[in-house]
């Protein structure tokens, strides 16, 4: 077989159905909990029922006598773990995943034991029967913006940036907005609960898991269990959503422990209620935004301070104040993220960490400023477009926010908008429209890939990417096809296997950009090597790539995706019901690899914005310390009936200086979406809603105050 002729048609940029689509619509796609194992043991986690304390006793004896029970693991019997390390993402492990190492309970829902049985029914009953005795200590989960123990904290970015004289610029401003905005505790809730099956075979550990990065999970498990990473393999072929929650969590570690002790495969799946404690979440935020502007809307002062909450055992900072560092400049510019430690589970990355709650506050405040200045909200933003990074001073890679607003305004019909609030009625509904800006960083991280020219004329790409619903498998197929100069049908992309080497996780909107760099590098070099008519040996010809050096050589710039969000809402002031009637998002997000799937990424993010604006909220009872109604009937996410026509499209966003031109699109869609809806609710009713979600009771009571 010889290499075939090059194809002239580019695959990137035209819509392709998902390469695994047929498996997904026929039920053939196997997710982590779907892969059968002989002699499988079923693990069921037992979580603490107290919010703070110590385990006095766990009565495992009677449970071990129950039918089918194979083991009870707790802090007295579980293998010891190493937790003093820095993982591949440069962060320390959340000790919640290092299960059963001590008797301390730092929050409600802390894993205290694992019961393993021969059937899921037996495991469930045994876990329910396990009596755990606690010494209960007083707990504190009271979160507000005025906690004196809230302190500046870095997390993934510096805690504080500061320039200029805020007091002076605010005093000199013609218009000042000074408001507090709050967002609630939110949960990822991918439709597939976290599940992992672990087994040992011939001295090697294999884990079939649902995660956002197989190589990442290998690194963490190898560190935790002090194993040679080469002896650990993690596979994660199909992943039922992640949104930031699917890293290393209690279930994988517990499954490996049990498989180690029992010498048989053990699966541990989180139940939906358990996910509220163990899957991570987005912290609530209390944000104060102060904006000062000249009469023409030019910002003199911008002050954005965000307080979030973390656990006592691990610090994660939800950096709500970070978005202003990119979006708007001012003579005096102050941003600050603070965190308070409480007796709650540690939060984690959740779709657009920082930007999602931060843009709700900042983009709402800008709408308020536009109202005060009597300037159109889009004009106000465009008047404040910065020339360079407001904090970094770095030049922007193409920043096409203006084009997003112009195209969006045209298509949404913004020019016909009457700016007055509360004047449009249709039956029982008050109607309004709103807008907001969006941005999200376009980063990349080192990854490896291998591309093989097969003897049969096909090509195989191997990289430890994860397709958590982003369409990454299909996108990489198209990227590889173009780099090889062949039709996508001749390319097979294999992902979700740590055996393929290190690769960036599906996170931070960095996955497809990072993996594409590696795939393009390997495919490009392979293409160079293959001469027309050349014979391919039976084992094929493989080229490997590693983008570490290439990324280190990239010039530092402010590189982000941008967007303009538009929403129309209807509000029934008599009942407080809010319905989104339509949304439009126009984005500038680099080269769009697969328009068919990209549209879904953008609209999916925007619908997360609907859900964030109107529905999502986990309420904790201070007396018990845990969420109330910890299930999908108590924690509402948007369903079909909440989602009207939602359209997304994009403007040209070419970056000639960037080697791939691809930016992330997974997160920018949610940024600003909730603010656009809240601004539309104001336009409909004349009442500002600065606390999410905009529940019917809030609309009703706010209306009566107004």
């Amino acid at each position: 077989m010889t290499t075939a002729q090059r194809t002239a048609v580019r695959a990137v940029g035209t819509g392709h159905v998902r390469v695994e689509g047929r498996d997904k619509v026929t039920g053939a796609a196997r997710y982590a909990g779907d892969v059968p194992f002989a002699e499988l043991g079923y693990g069921w986690l037992v979580l603490s029922t107290v919010a703070r304390g110590r385990i006095r006793d766990i009565a495992s004896g009677p449970v071990l006598e129950m039918p089918g029970v194979l083991a009870v693991l707790d802090h007295r019997s579980a293998p010891r773990l190493e937790t003093d390390y820095v993982g591949l993402l440069g962060i320390r492990p959340d000790p919640t995943c290092a299960v059963f190492q001590h008797d301390t309970v730092p929050h409600l829902g802390w894993p205290v034991a694992l019961v393993v049985a021969q059937t899921p029914e037996q495991a469930r009953e045994a876990a329910e029967s396990l009596a755990v005795e606690y010494e209960t200590l007083p707990h504190d989960i009271a979160f507000d913006g005025d906690r004196p123990d809230a302190r500046p904290a870095d997390g993934i970015m510096p805690a504080v940036t500061d320039k200029g004289d805020l007091a002076a610029e605010l005093a000199a401003s013609a218009h000042v907005v000074d408001e507090e905005y709050t967002t609630p505790e939110e949960h990822h809730h991918p439709m597939e609960p976290h599940a992992a099956t672990a087994r040992w075979e011939d001295g090697r550990l294999e884990v079939v898991d649902s995660n956002q990065g197989a190589a990442w999970v290998v690194g963490e498990l190898a560190n935790l269990f002090r194993l040679d990473p080469g002896s650990v393999r993690v596979r994660s072929e199909h992943v039922g959503g992640g949104f930031g929650s699917k890293g290393v969590r209690a279930h994988q570690v517990a499954a490996v422990m049990a498989a180690t002790v029992l010498r048989r495969p053990v699966r541990v799946a989180l139940t939906r209620p358990q996910m509220f404690a163990l899957a991570g979440h987005r912290s609530p935020t209390v944000q104060r935004v102060r904006l000062g502007a000249d009469a023409d809307g030019r910002l003199r002062a911008l002050d954005h301070r965000s307080v979030s909450r973390t656990g006592t055992h691990y610090e994660f900072v939800e950096p709500g104040a970070g978005v202003a560092r990119v979006m708007y400049d001012a003579d005096a510019h102050h941003t600050e993220n603070r965190v308070v430690r409480l007796d709650v589970p540690s939060p984690t990355f959740m779709r657009a960490p920082g930007e999602a709650p931060g843009a709700f506050a900042l983009e709402s405040a800008l709408d308020e400023l536009a109202e005060k200045c009597g300037i159109d909200p889009i004009d106000l933003r465009l008047r404040n477009e910065p020339a360079t990074g407001p904090v970094s001073g770095l030049p922007f890679a193409p920043r096409n926010l203006r084009a997003c607003f112009e195209e969006g305004a045209r298509r949404f019909g913004w020019a016909r908008r009457d700016p007055r609030p509360g004047v449009r009625r249709e039956g029982r509904w008050l109607l309004g429209t709103g807008t907001a800006a969006a941005s999200f960083p376009a980063g990349a991280a080192p990854s490896t890939a291998a591309v093989t020219a097969e003897a049969d004329g096909r090509f195989t790409v191997r990289t430890a990417a994860a397709d958590i619903g982003t369409g990454a498998r299909t996108a990489l197929t198209l990227v590889a096809a173009d780099a090889l100069g062949v039709a996508p049908e001749r390319v097979t992309v294999r992902i979700g296997d740590s055996a393929f080497g290190f690769a960036m996780i599906a996170g931070g909107s960095m996955g497809t950009r990072s993996w594409s760099m590696a795939v393009m590098a390997a495919a490009g070099e392979l293409r160079e090597r293959l001469a027309p008519g050349m014979d391919i040996p039976a084992e094929g010809i493989t080229v490997r790539s590693d983008t570490t050096a290439r990324l280190a050589a990239l010039t530092a710039v402010e590189r982000h995706s941008y967007g303009a969000q538009f929403a129309e809402v209807a509000v029934d002031p008599a009942t407080g019901e809010v319905r989104v009637r339509r949304m439009l998002g126009i984005f500038a997000a680099g080269r769009i690899v697969n328009p068919l799937t990209a549209r879904g990424q953008f609209t999916g993010g925007m619908i997360w914005g609907i859900s964030m604006a109107l529905h999502e909220e986990a309420l904790r009872d201070p007396a018990f310390g845990g969420p109330v109604g910890a299930d999908l009937a108590g924690y509402h996410v948007a369903t079909h009936a909440d989602v009207p026509r939602v359209e997304a499209d994009w403007v040209d966003d070419t970056d000639p200086d960037d080697p791939v031109g691809i930016k992330g699109i997974g997160e920018v869609g949610i940024v600003g979406a909730a603010a656009a809806i809240a601004n539309a609710v104001w336009h409909a009713t004349g009442v500002r809603h600065r606390s999410l979600p905009i529940r019917p009771d809030r609309v009703l009571t706010a209306g009566s105050d107004a």
Binding site: T26, D34, E192
Partner: protein, 193 residues
């Protein structure tokens, strides 16, 4: 005397008979997934709150997580593995594939089974909460986007592929034209019935 807590049952699934002993606690969902290797039916919440485990029981959409297997004996169960006609996809499956009516794919089998059941319900003239006048004298509600959304609301999709799911269901229903007209954004919102 201890009461029996398990039974040997025969389940009729996708036209095949399966005889197996079950713990009475076993749900139809767990029987499919853990006993019969029919893992296309997904466990999203195990509490009847997400729709991922939707199957058809005697043609009607049902959540398998709240259906005890022992109580399903005698009913004809159709799962996602049984909706295609051999190698030819069911029109609903084909439309989901063509219109990208999913992302991660985990809720997809439930969405598809639900859509198949829903289309039959609509064809039988069942009204919905979106139908306004439910009286039988009123004209049968056309399958607008709003009707599809209300009728499909028992199936959560956290990736939020809702817009393309609705388009796919409409296409499969042969309602393309009517529904497309209904979902085009109008000046002050949406022209739905």
């Amino acid at each position: 005397m201890a009461l029996p807590t398990s039974s040997v049952i025969t389940l009729h699934i996708n036209g095949e008979k399966h005889t197996l002993p079950v713990d009475h606690r076993t749900t139809l969902l767990d029987a499919l997934r853990e006993r019969l290797d029919l893992t296309g039916t997904k466990k999203g919440c195990d509490q009847g709150q997400c729709g991922a485990c939707t199957v058809l029981a005697d043609g009607r959409r049902t959540v398998a997580c709240l259906q005890l297997a022992v109580a399903a004996e005698g009913r004809e169960i159709t799962t996602i593995e049984g909706v295609a006609d051999g190698g030819r996809l069911h029109p609903v499956q084909q439309a989901f594939l063509d219109l990208d009516g999913y992302q991660c794919g985990y809720c997809t089998p439930g969405q598809i089974c639900s859509a198949i059941g829903m289309l039959a319900e609509h064809a039988a003239g069942w009204p919905s909460a979106a139908s306004g006048d439910v009286r039988p004298a009123a004209a049968a509600a056309p399958l607008t986007a709003e009707e599809i959304r209300e009728r499909m609301s028992g199936n959560l999709c956290r990736c939020s592929a809702y817009t393309s799911i609705v388009e796919a269901v409409a296409r499969a229903a042969g309602a393309d034209a009517a529904t497309a007209a209904a979902v085009v954004p109008a000046q002050s919102g949406e022209a739905v019935a």
